[in-house]
Symmetry: C2
Subunit: 866 residues, 2 copies
């Protein structure tokens, strides 16, 4: 039965593949084929790959091998036998093969490798005779039975390891290699007994049967729990499937002139140019990886086997130049001859990635663009925040969402007020809350880090923490927080206020161990890379910054301006809240105007500092956005406060709607802005680059009314029209449809993709993220939160429609986005390809965004855009 193949073959010889065929052959199969092509067939053991499509067909057919596959495997096997001059199961000179899984992306958690397949009670003798090495033959057979039983038939590894211990004791051996032929023969028999006991079947003697079982096991491992869990976490689609690679064995365990190892083309930790790696003499690859024996540094290979070393070094350079990236390889030396078994682009930490990029440009190996393309920009965050010292062990108390990168340590506090008080007393604190709200923001500033029991990557805590660059772990659901008792339980552990805790926001870990922190530095390598990115990118990068301190940080990180200053954060400060309350609860417009008059000089002062800090760069100041009730304490019981509360505050009386209802609020803000503009112009001798932004526009007329207010107040304060811009947030679906009319009143648009995502999808971030994300990813409705990476087919098209209509009406309209997506590399790529002028993100994401924007430009040059 099974699925019938359409067109493409189920099986490809290595000689027929290439690295471009990764989707079909898997990463491993494609790379082995590529190596065969560039290094020559005598440097890579021959073999073939059963395609990922065969795996998908097998699963869709209900664990049934697709029609024609068996025949193709037979034919490929025949070709392999012809090429090697050996036959699978030949009792005199058997062909032995390895069987390895290999998906598009490397996937730990799947079936890995079966070596020495083809051995049985007959061919083990032939192998012994042919190689003149009986011990080697029996050691190979013993290993095969063990791996086959463990990997293909799921027999627990310790069942075999116990026997090895027993054998060693019985034969007085300390190392595996001390076991003699008799011991190995005995052990092989024992292993076959284990196999029979556990599976109820005899150990298969027919090599073709062995192969078939191994192939099915690889296919089945794609649907295993561990593999599924891994795919969920790493967002790998279920329908990719895995390929199966069948390759002639070469033997690193043939004595002192043989060995196996792994080698990186450069140092994989710091990126320095010397290749790094480990090897073992007289061993198969599994021994190197398993850590059972102590490996030697690859540099030592020069002394042990100088020819093989020289060849390996040459090959590493060749592969790096060919792949245009640092390589991570596996090799085997069989009786002095080097064979390459695998190569792939090396995963590496950020410091190695930037060092590599610099060096390869200096070496003339890659262009700047090629070098930048090798960097995984998601990892760069680590260069900008302290981290747990990676060399130190610690016990994880709880694990949550990696909500805001960086590590922090401090005493536990359970309220923003305590955080503020403790910080004023010079203590380092971690603010621990079930979840956070607007009134906790002062506590964010005061705390070293934030830890919550609820909420995901787009929760209030996560958003605010990322915006401020505070490390945060959210949704650590194991935390049982009792705010009344001021204590916190995790299982048996009880923690009280003042107890010390450490969080790592890059990994989501929480510990009570005192883990040392490693401080970040903007290395010279990183600075060089960033400078190249600035040359290459066309997308501007601005920062969201609400305070002069944020603004200075943003400049230091290379922001080209402030894309979003949220004036509401200025009202959160302790000295301003009472005045804000008075303003909000004013009975009459006159009372409100009086309260606003007191706030005006404070706002003006903030704006002056901000404009001065960003001298020469544009500063976008957004007028008040949140609903007024957000500025009141939650226990406010004034009936006027009650009247302000809303069923759906996200869709309520906020943004420009406030200004239509109470123009005096925006009037005060605009006056403070314009007075600041005058004062700073006088101090600097030239006007700052001021941009005033109106939030939540739905209707052209709303903006027209507020634009008139801005013009009037600017005139009254003596600021000329050419010394400021007026623009608007585009953050509602209607505004995208009406962008042409709105553009007639705007110098710029800034897409607010947070709110646009909430409205276009009908997803309240506060309510949805904790509940919906996991089941939705599980159900394959989406593969990541639309608040993390922009939903391109929905929200993204709204942005493009808004951009298109806006520029249709006004060709010179400046277009940007501000919001969480502004710091997300995939979203940045989308915005680059949407023709936006800039993105704005939190100061700490600016370097990442600079690299991502450069990569987007490079990619666009490559493939001509979406």
């Amino acid at each position: 039965m099974g699925i019938t193949r359409v067109g493409r073959a189920w099986v490809y010889d290595f000689a027929d593949g290439s690295k471009e065929m990764r989707d079909l052959l898997g990463g491993k199969g494609a790379n082995v084929a590529e190596m065969t092509r560039i290094l020559g067939a005598d440097r890579v053991p021959a073999g073939f790959t059963i395609t990922t499509e065969a795996c998908v067909a097998y699963i869709e057919g209900g664990q049934s091998v697709p029609e024609g596959m068996d025949d193709e495997v037979d034919a490929a096997l025949a070709r392999l036998e012809a090429a090697t001059g050996k036959t699978l199961g030949d009792p005199d000179d058997p062909l032995l093969v390895s069987v390895r899984s290999g998906a598009r992306e490397s996937m730990p958690g799947m079936l890995d490798t079966v070596l020495n397949l083809g051995l049985n009670d007959d061919s083990v003798d032939g192998l012994a005779e042919r190689t003149g090495n009986e011990r080697f033959a029996w050691d190979s057979y013993r290993r095969f039975v063990q791996m086959f039983g463990n990997v293909v038939r799921n027999i627990a590894g310790e069942r075999f390891e116990q026997r090895i211990q027993v054998a060693k004791e019985r034969h007085g051996a300390t190392l595996d290699t001390d076991l003699d032929i008799a011991a190995l023969t005995e052990l092989t028999a024992d292993f076959r007994d284990i196999f029979e006991t556990e599976t109820g079947e005899e150990f298969p003697q027919e090599p073709r049967d062995q192969l078939e079982q191994a192939i099915r096991a690889v296919f089945d491992s794609w649907s295993g729990d561990r593999a599924i869990a891994y795919r969920r976490i790493n967002r790998i689609p279920d329908d990719w499937g895995t390929a199966v690679n069948v390759q002639q064995m070469v033997f690193g365990n043939k004595g002192a002139t043989s060995g196996s190892g792994v080698a990186f083309s450069r140092d994989e930790v710091d990126g320095s140019p010397e290749p790094s790696g480990d090897f073992l003499v007289n061993a198969q690859g599994e021994d190197v990886v398993s850590g059972v024996r102590n490996t030697q540094d690859i540099a030592d290979l020069r002394d042990v086997m100088p020819d093989a070393h020289a060849t390996l070094m040459e090959i590493l350079r060749t592969l790096e130049a060919h792949y245009k990236d640092m390589q991570d390889t596996e090799f085997t030396i069989e009786e002095g001859r080097l064979y390459m078994l695998q190569t792939r682009n090396a995963k590496r930490p950020a410091q190695a990635a930037v060092r590599f990029a610099c060096d390869v440009v200096d070496e003339g190996l890659l262009t700047k663009a090629e070098a930048i393309a090798t960097i995984d920009c998601e990892k760069l965050d680590a260069l900008l925040h302290p981290t747990f010292d990676p060399t130190v062990d610690y016990a994880v108390l709880a694990k949550g969402v990696a909500a805001s990168p960086g590590a922090a340590k401090g005493e536990i506090v359970f309220s923003a007020a305590e955080a503020v008080a403790a910080a004023a007393g010079g203590r380092d604190v971690i603010l621990v809350r079930p979840f956070t709200e607007a009134e906790d923001v002062a506590g964010f500033y005061a705390a070293r880090g934030i830890l919550t029991a609820e909420g995901g990557k787009a929760s209030h805590a996560a958003l605010v923490a990322r915006g401020m660059g505070r490390p945060a772990v959210t949704g650590a659901s194991a935390l049982d927080i009792d705010l009344d008792k001021h204590e916190l339980r995790v299982g048996e552990t009880l923690l009280r206020e003042g107890d010390r805790i450490s969080i790592e926001g890059t990994t989501g870990q929480v510990t009570i161990d005192d883990v040392p922190l490693v401080e970040p530095e903007m290395t010279a390598y990183f600075q060089r890379v960033l400078a190249w990115c600035d040359e290459l990118r066309t997308l501007g990068i601005r920062a969201n910054a609400d305070t002069p301190e944020d603004a200075r940080k943003a400049r230091a990180f290379g922001a080209g301006g402030i894309g979003l200053c949220r004036t509401e954060h200025m009202f959160m400060a302790a000295d301003r809240q009472p005045k804000m309350r008075e303003m909000i609860l004013a009975d009459t417009t006159a009372d409100r105007v009086a309260a606003l008059a007191e706030l005006l000089p404070l706002q003006q002062q903030d704006f002056e500092q901000l404009l001065e800090a960003m001298d020469g760069l544009p500063v976008t100041i957004r007028l008040l956005d949140p609903p007024l009730h957000e500025f009141l304490p939650p226990d406010e019981d004034d009936p006027r406060a009650h009247a302000l509360r809303e069923v759906n505050p996200m869709l309520g009386t906020r943004g420009c709607r406030l200004a239509i209802l109470h123009p005096e609020i925006y009037e005060m803000q605009v006056r403070a802005i314009m007075r600041a503009q005058c004062a700073v112009t006088e101090r600097l001798g030239h006007p700052p680059r001021l941009e005033v932004m109106v939030p939540l526009i739905d209707y052209e007329r709303e903006l027209e009314i507020i634009e008139e207010l801005i013009f009037r107040v600017a005139r009254e304060e003596g600021v000329a029209r050419e010394h400021y811009l007026v623009g608007t947030m585009i953050e509602l679906p209607r505004a995208c449809f009406l962008a042409d009319t709105i553009a007639t009143h705007a110098d710029f648009f800034s897409f607010g993709t947070n709110d646009l995502t909430q409205t276009a999808l009908g997803f309240s971030r506060d309510d949805i993220e904790g509940r919906i994300m996991a089941p939705y990813i599980e159900s394959k409705i989406f593969d990541r939160s639309p608040f993390e990476t922009i939903d391109a087919p929905g929200v993204g098209q709204l942005v493009r429609m808004g951009a298109w209509l806006g520029r249709k009406a006004k060709l010179e309209l400046k277009l940007g986005i501000c919001g969480e997506h502004g710091g997300d590399p995939d979203s940045i790529d989308f915005f680059h390809n949407s023709g936006l002028d800039y993105v704005s993100c939190s100061p700490f994401r600016v370097p990442v965004a600079r690299v991502a924007a450069a990569q987007a430009a490079i990619r666009r040059g490559d493939d001509g855009g979406w």
Copy 2:
């Protein structure tokens, strides 16, 4: 100074206008011109119109007459003088004119009329001599001074009326007409004194000065408070402006062969074919309208002035045939000769409108389409609900929003529970609440009507009441409700539970008077009109109905099916709430499944009744939509209930999201539906036309998952795929963009424009309507609530995009809308032109929608669509 005219003239002679020039000449000017054209210049007194554009230019120029206008007025005046052979201000034979305002739409609240302009101390003698009627001349002058002072110079009317009373007493007169020449001369002098005292100016003697003042007064009245208020209420744009009509006077007050009157071409109350109206002998038009004197029925004119009567009757028929609509005219008879001063389409109540439509078709005067086009379908609601007896006076206690049409009387109750108890005891009650929530719905069923102190036309109370056809008045802010004390204050009036109250949901009035109600009837005329509409329309009309009772009502009103059955309303019933609570608060899926199993037979029973009631017509059943916490009492304090509460429930865990999280809920509902389908198929002998609808789809994959569930359960219950449809609500902006992918899993789309409006505009109906609508209309951001009439450029375009993409992917896709807009005539027109197949509205709106759909089809035939 002033605005310079571009192209068009500021002034047009009546002879040069036509009814097509209404925008420029105003309704009155255009109609007088049209009458001049069709009845001949000798039947309509000559004159000219100053355009609406002149008025707009005058206002924009800061109350400054636009350049060239004065010259054009002089020229038009010269032509008028030439045509009449008289000269304005001629002391021997003066030309007298009337000056009347006239906007595009008739607008009470603006300056109305100044008669006899041109009289002064000299020309009054000339008039007396020419007419040989000194009394008439002085009466005319007296009237002119009075009107000019009152209307042009804003002198309070009672200042003049007092003097008339004094004069009557002094001269022993009982009627105005009893005053002799001496008395009138004296009175005129008194009036001029009043004028001087009030204005500080002499009464203008120069006729050209009189005219200029009158023209300016008309222009200024456009910006008067009353006119502005009227425009707000009636959604008339401020920039239309008003025209000014200057017309030669003819005199109905020249004795027994003269008179004035108003005449309708048919009976304006019941629509019967005999013309109706009133007239007065020896009087000017103002006397007829003012109600000071008792008028005579127009039928009596036949006896008094048979020739004039015959001519009038002929003219009424001519005008009706020409305008293809019932006419409302004003006429004057001067010494036996009939002059027509005004005609316009007659405003008329619904019963007259449908009778007229039937009669004119029978008479061969209009085609069915033309007849239907004469009906104001907004008024038809009155034919479907009881109303306050219009012949009875009553005192209005409070006024609120006309939220759901119809009148109701009953005892006050302050809670849904009391309403249910009282209704069970056979008492009629009005449910009075500050506002209503989901758990009050049982009270809606029990009550005769709903009255709330908060909320607008789209509040919960209004929506639910309209859906059920219960009269409702919402937002009656004068009501001070004390729920604890079970009492209600309006100013000085205190009402307690059990006190009787009456509400009129068509007008928003509340009274404690026992006003008799008039019951509605579906007259034969209305039935005929509806049958024609069904022939003409192409848009299907379905009803939103949740109960078998609603379904039967919907059928009776001519619904072509049920477009929306909200299954959640079935959970509101008292016997189901405890089971629902158990289901919602279940700790485990197994507990939930057990609770659901108890609900299943109850739902099945509901569905059976519904399907049976609608036999032969399609029934769309929507699976559960609201967030679960809506089904819990508000005081529910179970911590699991707390965990369900959301910050923005509108954007939260609801609709199909519930089914992704808890598939067992939809599984139960689908099973109940499919079992009902089987049972009813057996009883009827053929399958009902079942349509299952999934709410709140964002992603194709959501629908795919739920579609699979529906298919599976249907198979399990033995329902064949061809015996039901599966469709989805399209109610989120993202779904409109992705409609092509979603359509691959849907047999039909139903646009949920309520939620689409909330999300596309970012407007929470619950929060926004009360706060935003008034200031937004005031600020000219929109002219009516987007929840009342669809926001065509925003939400409407989303609907069209969804429709287009959906049909692109699946040509045969059925498209409908369900939601408040489905019953709104302007929205129906939009949906018709968007190519939808049907709209679904509350049962009580179905007849209105049938007419509106026919009118949309007719209009589309006329003008080729939008």
